[in-house]
């Protein structure tokens, strides 16, 4: 039971990050029906910029409290990512808006490679340690533990999701975004600057990605120029799981995927321990007697879960849990 609760907590932490990144995918998809393949790289840029600033500040011997340093790092990462998001839309996607679907997807892959390798040139090809400057108190919760960073990640993402929901459903900009997503031509006729709305959508997504980058960085204590690719794919899976184009879906999908991954990683080793069925062969029984466990799939298969979930969702319910759009072919 303790392991169960612990994995749920870890899953929710990771899931919050997935949800925040998934929001970026889903917002862009909702408006321009484009999978912004390079979104994961924006997360990486956010983590790298924050790491840069935090390391510089922490090393400069300032008397600023650690929390403020992390905050400054995040506040530097956000505009940097916004700039990347804006440039990406402007340079790569806008000229292709009327091209066949394949074209922007290929462009997105190109952008993703470029961002990764530029990051590798600027920061290094080795993993960088995220400075652990904030104290990370550990709280006990019914047999499991939850750290300060985990609490911060979960509550901050809930806060951001609430803010985004307010923005989309309660402001004029939100109305413009929803109108553009319904039908850009008509939205344009209604006096909405469609290009501006699309740019803003990319920029908001990028800002969320920046925060997610800082979160992952502080949570794992490490940043690497390739960290965005896998995270991006998992977040995309989360967006599809919830129903792409649907904000609530992305949040739900992210949390769910995080929990599935954590529980899966926590239990798969035990579940696929061949010693449960050691009666099928005497060889196996012998090995079990010596090693105790003969595990078929261990926790090193962690990264498989997201893809399996993605494929299952696409096969059995392509519109996702909350999605109303039917998946049609281009």
């Amino acid at each position: 039971m303790d392991i169960f609760l612990q994995q749920i907590i870890n899953g929710l932490t990771l899931g919050s990050v997935y949800a925040i990144v998934a929001l970026g995918y889903t917002m862009v998809y909702g408006i321009v029906q484009l999978i912004n393949f390079a979104h994961g790289e924006v997360v990486m840029v956010g983590a790298m910029v924050a790491l840069w600033v935090i390391t510089a500040l922490a090393g400069s011997g300032t008397t600023l409290p650690p929390l403020v340093i992390v905050l400054i790092g995040t506040l530097c990462a956000i505009p940097a990512c916004m700039a990347v998001g804006y440039a990406m839309e402007r340079i790569a996607y806008r000229p292709l808006r009327n091209a066949p679907r394949l074209a922007p997807l290929i462009t997105a892959i190109g952008i993703s490679i470029i961002l990764q390798h530029l990051a590798m040139l600027i920061w290094s090809r080795n993993p960088l340690a995220f400075p652990q400057i904030i104290s990370n108190p550990v709280f006990h919760l019914g047999g499991a533990t939850i750290s300060g960073v985990q609490i911060a990640i979960i509550s901050l993402s809930l806060l951001m999701m609430a803010a985004l929901t307010l923005l989309v459903y309660r402001t004029k900009l939100g109305v413009a975004m929803r109108a553009t997503s319904e039908n850009p031509e008509i939205a344009g006729l209604m006096g909405i600057d469609v290009n501006r709305v699309i740019s803003i959508t990319f920029v908001i997504g990028a800002a969320l990605a920046a925060v997610a980058g800082v979160m992952v960085g502080t949570y794992y204590g490490i940043a690497h120029y390739t960290m965005g690719a896998l995270l991006g794919m998992k977040a995309f899976s989360a967006a599809v799981l919830g129903g792409i184009g649907n904000l609530a879906g992305a949040m739900l999908g992210g949390m769910l995927l995080g929990v599935v991954e954590a529980l899966g990683t926590g239990y798969i080793g035990n579940l696929t321990d061949l010693c449960h069925v050691s009666w099928i062969s005497s060889d196996l029984a012998e090995r079990c007697a010596v090693d105790g466990h003969v595990i078929l799939f261990g926790s090193n298969y962690q990264d498989v879960f997201a893809f399996v979930v993605l494929i299952l969702v696409l096969v059995f319910r392509p519109s996702g849990l909350l999605g109303e759009r039917v998946s049609d072919r281009a």
Binding site: I91, P104, L105, I109, M120, P184, A229
Partner: protein, 363 residues
């Protein structure tokens, strides 16, 4: 009906002269390269392997219009099939002419396994799923060393047998009529034969009923279905065929290298092959060959130019040629889509398809 620009084939004698010239050049090429260094023959062999892979991917992406980002997985399946059946790892040493078909079949099965559940998906979803599939295969290759050691994990499999026909081994040096052919040179000729066969198969496929069905699906799936094409089966066929070409190339790769590890079958490789297809011209066989040859030699040329230039300018290597290569790949993808979406040597239909249209796509 042909998709390829064939107007240059009009004058017969000129064509035959050209073909003869090219054939002569291709025959002499490895010996010419060997005088510079055997390394260049190896590079050429790898380039031909990439041409094979690009032609395989071209069936899926170029002909049928299905974006496959996990193509390298089939290459990996073929390579591992060969490595496991012809190395001391399991103590099996089957001859290559048995293993290559097995590898092709296995890759084909994997292609169908991937294709069957996913082919009803819309194009961009398909891309992500294939990408995920490629990653899954790599993760399995990396981890299937426990509890039973199948793939030997990240260490990979070494001491893989070369191709052998009786006592004739493709690895050893051999002197024939006063000419010494090294292992890579012999592999070169083998690859050349395979390449010519694959090109002929591709050209025949393109103009066949199936090939036309693929193009029809790419252009408009609903219309194709209305014309009586069984879109699901035909798309599956594209996946299976592309995959088996990848499997064959993988087997040859394993034999040439003598060592494989999961490192060779990563996402970047899939993207590289995609870049070759896109750069050359999706759907045009000769365009794809051009793209693959260009992008295979770029890194080597960079290695020999960028490093010396940087050392003379700055006294040390500031930017790794590997990084420049990847940046160029990325840039090529972006710029090609923006300015020449149909590729350097486009197919006629594809060019028409990529011409800007009015209104929104895919609603």
């Amino acid at each position: 009906m042909s998709d390829t620009d064939t107007s240059f084939l009009k004058s017969r004698p000129a064509v035959w002269a050209g073909v003869a010239l090219m054939a002569a050049a291709l025959v002499v090429l490895p010996f010419a390269l060997a005088t510079v260094g055997t390394a260049w023959v190896r590079v050429t062999n790898l380039a031909i392997l990439f041409v094979l892979l690009s032609l395989g991917l071209n069936i899926v992406v170029g002909f049928a219009g299905l974006l496959d980002l996990g193509y390298i997985a089939f290459y990996g399946v073929g390579a591992y099939a060969y490595a496991l059946l012809a190395s001391p790892h399991f103590g099996l040493h089957l001859p290559f002419w048995i293993i290559l078909p097995i590898g092709a079949m296995l890759a084909c099965v994997f292609g169908i396994l991937l294709g069957a559940p996913t082919l009803k998906l819309r194009g961009d979803y398909l891309a992500i799923v294939t990408l995920g599939f490629g990653e899954i295969v790599r993760i399995f290759l990396n981890n299937l060393s426990q509890p039973v050691n199948i793939t030997n994990g990240p260490q990979g499999i070494s001491l893989i047998d070369p191709f052998r026909l009786g006592s004739f081994s493709f690895r050893d040096n051999q002197t024939f009529l006063g000419l010494t052919a090294s292992g890579p040179i012999k592999y070169y000729y083998l690859l050349l034969v395979v390449l010519i066969a694959v090109v002929i198969v591709n050209i025949r496929l393109q103009d066949s009923r199936i090939g036309r069905a693929w193009v029809a699906i790419r252009e408009d799936e609903v219309a194709a279905q209305a014309m009586g094409i069984n879109t699901r089966n035909v798309k599956l066929l594209a996946f299976a065929m592309g995959a088996s070409f990848g499997g064959i190339a993988g087997g040859i790769f394993a034999a040439i290298q003598g060592f494989i590890s999961p490192e060779s079958f990563v996402l970047v490789q899939s993207i590289m092959i995609l870049s070759m297809v896109v750069l050359g011209g999706m759907g045009n066989i000769f365009g794809v060959i051009l793209g693959a040859v260009l992008l295979s030699f770029v890194p080597e040329i960079l290695r020999y130019t960028v490093q010396p230039v940087q050392t003379t300018l700055f006294g040390r290597v500031l930017i790794d040629p590997e990084v420049i290569r990847m940046l160029l790949f990325g840039l090529a993808l972006v710029l090609m889509m923006r300015y020449r979406p149909a590729g350097l040597w486009p197919s006629k239909t594809r060019r028409r398809e990529f011409a800007p249209r009015n209104g929104r796509e895919g609603r």
